[in-house]
Amino acid sequence: MRLRLAVATAASLALALSACSSDVADDDDDAKPASGASATPEGPWTFTDGSGEVVELDQVPTRIIAHAPAAAALISYGIRPVGIYGDEPVDTDPNLDGVDLTGIEILGEEWGSIDVAKASTLAPDLIVADWWPAEKAHSGLENSVKAKSKKLAELAPVVGPSQGGSILNLAEGYEDLAETLGADVEDSQGAEDKAAFEEARDAFVAAMEDKDLTALAVSPTADLLYAANPEYAPELLDFTEWGLQVVTPDTPDPDFPYWENLSWENADKYQPDVLLIDSRSFEEAKKTVAAQPTWTSIRAAEAGQLIEWPAFWLHTYADYADALTKLTADLADVDDTIGD
């Protein structure tokens, strides 16, 4: 029975994880009127979902319900959903920061809980959310979600780009999806965001070229230090590709491979130049580690080289641009001779 608690703990981590997986929105997708305002194209409509399934409809969908991050992405291209559901309250979801939700119904503000009755009154013709290949489900419809909430999938087809090896899979995927829905992608906030992202990425790459930095992404808790496995954290794979070498832990938890669980006795197992600390608990983590006698056995911690890791939530070009700009600035003064 305690075992179930352990599972529950893992699940709550997973939950936090998927909670963060939401996306982002752009600040001002100004005046594009309701969904597909730029003249909804003629049907039929087809889209290849992240699962590989090809969804075909006679008409181009216009009444869309979207998972919060997906909504943010679509809105940046002028496609306004009729309803959204999130993994956390709208006010605190980083993906919705600055997104204009006027006129959009809120169908859920907690992971695993969607008001399907209210959703059905919106008569949706499409539901949009990330596809999670590891869990074989779309966001908000995962296995452990309440059966009642999963009925959302019965209202309309569910599509979305797949989570995977790069945040750009999502950013590009939503760009493509918006285009099929009739968005004028070239002339949108999203296009400006993409340009900003490319600039931020180039600056990041340039900054990393001058250094030889290794990083370990961690989520410290009072009883264990979780070391992130980049294989399941697309932004970490991106950082590595762009010149910040993120350490891959050698023995991730077989049951929950997002992390290697390090006891505090083993905190010094990896010695990176810099520690990337899970953004979901950044402030709390700083207090947690202060009480850990072995925290400073990590030389990067001893040297105070701690940086916020935008963990598991990025989706859009706009948010990625901001995150990379901040990272580049944070990494500017980091000493690259600390780690192994």
């Binding site: 029975m1 305690r2 075992l3 608690l5 352990a6 529950a8 703990t9 709550s12 981590l13 936090a16 909670a19 956390e88 309250p89 605190t92 907690e110 808790t221 009072a222 009883d223 264990l224 023995t251 938890d253 290697e260 669980n261 390090l262 006891s263 505090w264 006795e265 083993n266 010094d268 197992k269 979901r280 608990s281 709390e284 207090k287 947690t288 009480a291 850990q292 006698p293 072995t294 056995s297």
Partner: protein, 348 residues
């Protein structure tokens, strides 16, 4: 347990005091052995020599091995022994007090009270930091215990075992509902609260250990003095009264001791239920119905069980650790089934 033992217990007989004392000394002798293992073994490989050295030259500039040995493993070992002893005793007192063979600290609302206080202090008062949480958990556990007692004492007969069990269940349900409600609306609180969801000895260092140790020690001493009362209560309320025991006052004192033990244990480690449930049964199985012997046996067995499970979790957990609550669940459930199946639980 062999068939021979089973037959022996089936026909209760008086155990000789000298035999019981020898058994207790034998068990107690295992405590330093286990403590030695707990300090030398763990998820980090440290050579025995380095462990011993750590005590010799522990200074500010010490190595990671020294830090792990002295600042992680030593307090953890002390806490494991104290909390194990406390839970073993608390379970024995509770089962004797309520004459309910399945009573454990959870029945008194202790866990629910501690959880509510921790979550409430995070979400409503906005405090954070492990020290605050532990203090809040302790206060919450004690307050819940007091509330259970107060509600259970309403009515004509005072605090009867049945009413206390019902009051405990009701208050646990109520507090848990509020706690869940608070958690659902606050992601940050969920992450901090995770620490209390599964009982664990990890991450509790010197300040926490020294903070709760006096309470645990006081509770342990108090509990060991309660044997005579429990013996009287075991005969039934009327017989106890006939022996000159004041039922009301006895129950108040026993409740207070249990609240102290469970409150401090839960505050430090989170909910650890199995020890308090199983240990009293094993103790009674070994030494018969006399609580003056059952209590010290339960104390030593509780300490051995909790610390033993923790050492196991640390050795088996790879680079991480299995929480002691998880290990106890894996080991404890089948063990409890065997115990119930073969050892005919003592009537309470």
């Amino acid at each position: 347990m062999s068939a021979a033992t089973v037959t022996a217990t089936a026909a209760p007989r008086r155990r000789r005091a000298s035999g019981l004392a020898a058994g207790l000394v034998l068990l107690a002798a295992l405590v330093p052995v286990l403590a030695f293992l707990s300090i030398t073994q763990g998820s980090r490989d440290i050579a025995l020599r380095d462990v011993l050295d750590a005590f010799g030259h522990f200074t500010q500039s010490s190595s990671v091995d020294d830090t792990v040995t002295v600042r992680l493993r030593v307090p953890r070992t002390i806490l494991g022994l104290l909390v194990g002893a406390a839970l073993g005793l608390a379970g024995t007192l509770l089962q004797g007090l309520t004459r309910n063979a399945l009573a454990d600290p959870g029945i008194m609302g202790v866990n629910a009270g501690a959880a509510f206080a921790v979550v409430g202090s995070i979400t409503l008062l906005g405090v954070s930091g492990l020290g605050f949480h532990v203090a809040a958990a302790f206060v919450g556990a004690l307050a819940a215990t007091a509330l259970v007692y107060a509600v259970g004492s309403l009515g004509r007969d005072g605090a009867t075992p049945v009413k206390m069990a019902l009051a405990g269940a009701a208050i646990t349900a109520g507090l848990t509902a509020v706690t869940t409600g608070l958690l659902l609306t606050d992601l940050a609180a969920q992450q901090q609260y995770r620490f209390w969801q599964v009982g664990s000895l990890a991450g509790r260092y010197a300040p926490i250990v020294t903070g709760v140790a006096p309470f645990l020690a006081a509770g342990v001493v108090g509990a060991l003095l309660c044997g005579r009362w429990l013996n009287a209560l075991a005969l039934g309320d009327d017989a106890a009264r006939g022996l000159g025991v004041s039922l009301g006052r006895t129950r108040v004192v026993l409740f207070l001791v249990v609240g102290l033990l469970c409150g401090a244990a839960t505050a430090a480690c989170g909910p650890i239920v199995f020890v308090g449930l199983v240990v009293p049964h094993v103790a009674r199985f070994l030494c018969g119905p006399d609580y003056r012997w059952v209590l010290p046996y339960a104390m030593v067995l509780g300490a051995l069980l909790l610390l033993g499970a923790d050492v196991l979790g640390r050795v088996l957990g790879g680079t991480g650790e299995l929480q002691v609550g998880v290990v106890l669940g894996i080991l404890g459930a089948p063990f409890f089934v065997l115990l119930v199946r073969y050892a005919r639980l003592a009537e309470l």
